[in-house]
């Protein structure tokens, strides 16, 4: 039995290997803020959000659509889904609280605990079945429909009855019957528990009229070593069944755990949705395009991390960059270039894991890797060691490139002079674009931007941070030709305004 709420045909693996650059992505895109908003201080939700979001680049288009449908159900029936989630959490907690006993691990204590656990699990399974009976028709997604149908099919009344019979028989009211063979040194071997015989004619009275020979002996009341030996013998008989039962309990626990894990992702999405709705920020289910296409168009795309930090709706951008593989973003300092770059990365990741996007509309092709190359601010000295470090990271990225990767470059190769940096960047970017890699490049390297602009290539788009004539920044990104300055003098002017007055005299 599987929940299959994350994938049509397989479980969501919380232990799956995350992309190699998960730490860099987390840092560069500010993902912790997103995860925290989804988790609402719940460690488990946080972990699931982290894995689901970061591993989305390994999922395919069909999976995205599958999850979008499930998520829509969840948003529609938030309370029902929440109560189902709470039930799994409770069940898992209760299992943990069932006592192992104080005499260490013996087959009989393992057996008894497993019986207790299974009795509790049967309660939860019954509730789940009822849940399915009651609400199945309210859910529209393929994922939930299949899930409820599975519950009804697998957990019918006959099945519950069969389990109850086992749990009763495992009390062994009529003794423990064990078969054995002769092993090494003629000691008993292959001990095997035989099904208790219940009310059938006693085996002594069976057979063809003649009684088969039976020999019986008794352990004397005061024979302590005999009693120990006898319980050892019983343990050999119970060992396998205790194992089978405890494993069954584990498997059912595994089912609940999986159900909890998969629901947790949607609970996280629901949490985020609620927060964004409260601040009036728009969300939309994105329109994913195939891997081999090159699509990007959006309206009111905003940096969800920034919105969550400031607690209100923030400026969004519209981009129409379908069929473009290279976007070069230049323009004013503090004009929102980095924020824009981040919003592209975040929306892509959210789309790939099946979530809504922080925008009024968002459409992009799927990518099979999301890579970021950001300037590491902590050691921003201009020296060759820094450039060496940057190129080292670039090398690692190139080593991990996939045919449909999305690469976000933020102020890369600025650790040397403009001409050299531009030339390095030009060579790298040209080569990667020719390989079909989609690149968003925020840069101050005018020579680089100008060079690409003058080539008038159809696949490139040039964006700039908007600056009004009066120097005011709107934090909007608009299409525009690269300019010589990044308006640092605006900043200078502002910061040195008073000095300038003073010096001017």
């Amino acid at each position: 039995m599987n929940a299959f709420l994350m994938y049509r045909d397989r479980d969501f693996d919380l232990k799956r290997k995350l992309p190699w650059n998960a730490p860099a992505l987390t840092q560069d895109l500010g993902l912790e803020t997103l995860f925290n908003a989804m988790a609402r201080d719940d460690k488990f939700l946080l972990e699931v959000a982290r894995v689901a979001v970061l591993s989305g680049v390994n999922d395919d288009l069909a999976t995205v659509l599958y999850r979008q449908a499930v998520l829509k159900d969840c948003l529609r029936h938030a309370d029902l889904v929440k109560s189902m989630y709470d039930l799994t959490v409770e069940t898992i907690d209760s299992e943990r609280k069932i006592f192992w006993g104080i005499f260490g691990r013996h087959p009989d204590t393992i057996l008894h605990r497993a019986v207790d656990v299974l009795e509790m699990f049967v309660g939860t399974l019954t509730k789940l079945r009822k849940f399915a009976d009651q609400y199945a028709d309210d859910f529209a997604s393929e994922g939930f429909k299949a899930f409820f149908a599975m519950l009804k099919r697998e957990l019918d009344d006959a099945y519950f009855a069969a389990i109850q019979t086992h749990l009763r028989e495992l009390q062994f009211r009529s003794g423990i019957l064990i078969s054995a063979e002769l092993g090494e040194g003629n000691k008993g071997a292959h001990y095997m528990l035989c099904r208790p015989e219940g009310k059938k004619p006693h085996w002594l009275k069976l057979a063809f009229g003649a009684k088969p020979p039976v020999y019986t002996f008794y352990i004397a009341d005061r024979d302590e070593s005999g009693a120990r030996a006898l319980s050892e013998l019983k343990e050999r008989g119970l060992n396998q069944v205790a194992n089978a039962l405890a494993q069954s309990a584990d498997h059912i626990l595994g089912f609940f755990t999986m159900l909890r894990t998969e629901l947790a992702f949607y609970i996280g999405c629901t949490n985020l949705h609620e927060q964004l709705r409260q601040m009036g920020a728009p969300v939309a289910f994105p329109l994913p395009a195939a891997l081999n296409e090159r699509k990007l168009s959006c309206a009111e795309l905003y940096d969800v991390g920034l919105a969550l930090i400031v607690g209100r709706r923030v400026v969004g951008n519209a981009v129409a960059a379908d069929d473009r593989t290279l976007a070069i973003i230049t323009g004013a300092n503090q004009g929102g270039k980095s924020t824009f770059l981040r919003s592209i990365g975040l929306a892509q990741l959210m789309m790939q894991c099946g979530m809504f996007a922080p925008a009024e509309s968002f459409s992009a092709n799927m990518c099979d890797a999301l890579l970021t190359h950001y300037r590491r601010e902590e050691d921003a000295n201009m020296n060759s060691g820094k450039l060496d470090e940057e190129l080292g990271r670039m090398r690692a990225i190139v080593d991990h490139l996939t045919p449909n990767a999305l690469l976000l470059l933020n102020e890369s190769f600025a650790a040397t002079n403009e001409r050299e940096g531009s030339e390095i960047a030009r060579q790298i970017v040209s080569a990667l674009v020719e390989r079909g890699i989609k690149i968003f490049f925020v840069t101050h390297l005018y020579t680089l931007a100008r060079g690409f602009y003058d080539q008038r290539r159809a696949h490139a788009i040039f964006l700039a941070a908007e600056r009004r004539a009066d120097g005011e920044r709107t934090f909007r990104i608009i299409e525009g030709e690269p300019r010589q300055t990044s308006y640092g003098e605006d900043l200078y002017a502002r910061i040195f305004a008073h000095d300038a007055d003073g010096n001017g005299r």
Binding site: I176, L182, E184, C194, F217, L233, F255
Partner: protein, 516 residues
């Protein structure tokens, strides 16, 4: 085609040699040459075979050496080696089972262990016969063994043993019984087709199964002994199957002496080779060579390429450090290698390696190196510096002289002698003159000799001496290469280069700012 006599021993061409000469006491030079460590390592884990006497007893006949070389070469074939190793493992298994039978108390349990020991023996010998019949054998030893084993497994004595053992085993395997435990009552009867309840339970919950599950099976203690409850159950099982258990009793009484003596001796002796090859494999894996030396009794032009000290090499391999190999050769009149040069430069190691090579060659074993010719000595002597012996009231110098006198008194022209730093406890003048005298004696007796010394003067005594020197890295004289090369002593340039490194040569001191 070689003439093959009846098989007696895989180790000794003449079986009389074995009884006559093997000794459990190590030769006195073992410690000096670190051969004690070598033999310890070779025999480790094989104490039950008591192999040391074989390793303590050099051979003195060229053909005896050849006999072992042949066997060892046969065993270098991986397939045959594995067959013999497996034979050894099974025989060990058999012995353990017999020991177990001995230790236990309940009759049916003892009998079962005895039966299983015989079963292992039958299987092991049959397998050996089959393996040998298919093996490509060239040695006199193995060819004779093959003939012997083929006869033995075809004998009525052996075939009856096999048949009876198998029948009894098969019958015991048919025994299947049920135990019903209720309260303090234990009932035993034959099994009547009841099914496995655990499997039932598993089937019921199978739909939840996902992936591998944690194993909850408790590791119940597996005592070899039986407790009295088990014994009572077994007695009842015997009553349920009276015929089988009666035959078991009778079998054990009748096959008490099943083990063939020649097989038993072979099992022990062949371990001499197995142990050595196992040991050599350790070095081969590390890229070091072993070779079959040409062993001579008349030609003293010995040599070895890429040799090394086994005890040291083993330690270095363990520490994943490189092992330095050295060559030597003697030609024409040359008999004496005088080793000098910087301390800690590998001189003693070189001398030990020379000794180990000759000793191992005398055992009929392959030796470290790519190619070698080695001399089959009659006696082997070492004189290594020892702590002062307070008991004999002699001074150290006197001890040295007494010991060397003894050696020279016993040595024949066929002996080998290794001297390490003699006469260190006297003046340089004394050491040189005493050293020269001793060397002259050795030279006069035409002994093969390695002499490690700090006395350069001994290096060019006469046409019989060859000088070898431990060397340092050309660019940093404080770094030893542990290479011992054949060339005149060059102690002076070594000292100068150290001085140069410290900026204390004349030229350096006269340079501006050089300090003088």
């Amino acid at each position: 085609m070689m003439q093959i006599g009846p098989f007696r021993s895989i180790l000794f061409k003449n079986v009389e040699d074995s009884a006559r000469t093997t000794t459990s006491e190590a030769p006195i030079f073992f410690v000096d040459l670190n051969l004690d460590q070598v033999i310890d390592a070779i025999t480790a884990g094989k104490q039950e075979y008591d192999l040391r006497p074989f390793y303590h007893t050099p051979l003195h006949e060229l053909d005896a050496v050849a006999y072992r070389h042949e066997v060892m070469r046969d065993l270098e074939d991986k397939a045959l080696y594995e067959m013999i190793a497996s034979f050894g493992r099974k025989m060990r298994d058999m012995r353990e089972r017999l020991a177990q039978a001995d230790k236990l108390h309940y009759k049916y349990q003892k009998e079962s262990w005895f039966l299983s020991a015989v079963e292992v023996y039958c299987d092991c010998v049959s397998r050996l016969a089959e393996d040998l019949s298919q093996a490509d054998l060239k040695s006199r030893g193995f060819l004779a063994l093959r003939a012997f084993v083929a006869d033995y497994v075809a004998s009525a004595r052996f075939t009856t043993l096999v048949a009876e053992t198998q029948k009894l085993k098969a019958d015991l395997a048919t025994v299947r019984y049920c135990i019903l435990i209720k309260g303090n009552a234990v009932s035993v009867r034959k099994h009547a087709g009841e099914s496995d309840y655990s499997a039932d339970v598993e089937r019921t919950f199978a739909k939840f199964k996902q992936g591998a599950a944690r194993d909850y099976t408790v590791r119940l203690p597996m005592w070899l002994e039986m407790n009295h409850v088990e014994a009572q159950v077994l007695d009842m099982v015997a009553r349920l199957y009276p015929d089988i258990f009666a035959r078991l009793d009778e079998y054990c009484a009748r096959h008490h002496n099943y083990l063939d003596e020649t097989i038993g001796v072979f099992d022990r002796e062949v371990q001499f080779y197995v142990a050595y090859l196992e040991y050599a494999a350790l070095f081969k894996r590390a890229g070091l060579n072993f070779c079959y030396p040409q062993v001579t009794a008349d030609d003293k032009a010995v040599y070895d390429d890429d040799g090394y000290d086994l005890a040291l090499a083993r330690k270095l391999i363990g520490e994943q450090k490189p092992v330095i190999r050295n060559d030597f050769y003697l030609q024409g009149q040359e008999r004496i290698i005088v080793v000098s040069g910087p301390n800690q430069g590998g001189k003693t190691t070189f001398a030990r390696a020379f000794g180990q090579l000759h000793y191992l060659a005398s055992l009929g074993c392959p030796v470290p190196g790519r190619e070698a010719r080695l001399y089959l000595f009659d006696q082997f002597f070492t004189h290594f510096e020892q702590a002062e012996n307070l008991q004999n009231l002699h001074g150290k110098l006197e001890d040295d002289l007494v010991r060397i006198h003894e050696i020279l008194a016993q040595a024949t022209p066929h002996s080998i002698i290794i001297m390490n730093e003699i006469f260190t406890s006297t003046t340089l003048q004394d050491a040189i003159s005493l050293g020269k005298k001793v060397m002259e004696q050795i030279s006069a007796r035409d002994l093969l000799c390695v002499c490690v010394t700090f006395l350069d003067e001994l290096a060019a005594l006469d046409e019989k001496t060859v000088s070898m020197v431990s060397t340092v890295a050309p660019d940093d004289p404080t770094v030893r290469t542990f290479k011992i090369v054949r060339r005149p002593p060059d102690g002076l340039s070594y000292a100068l280069s150290i001085a140069e490194k410290h900026g204390l040569t004349y030229r350096q001191l006269r340079e501006p700012g050089g300090g003088a």
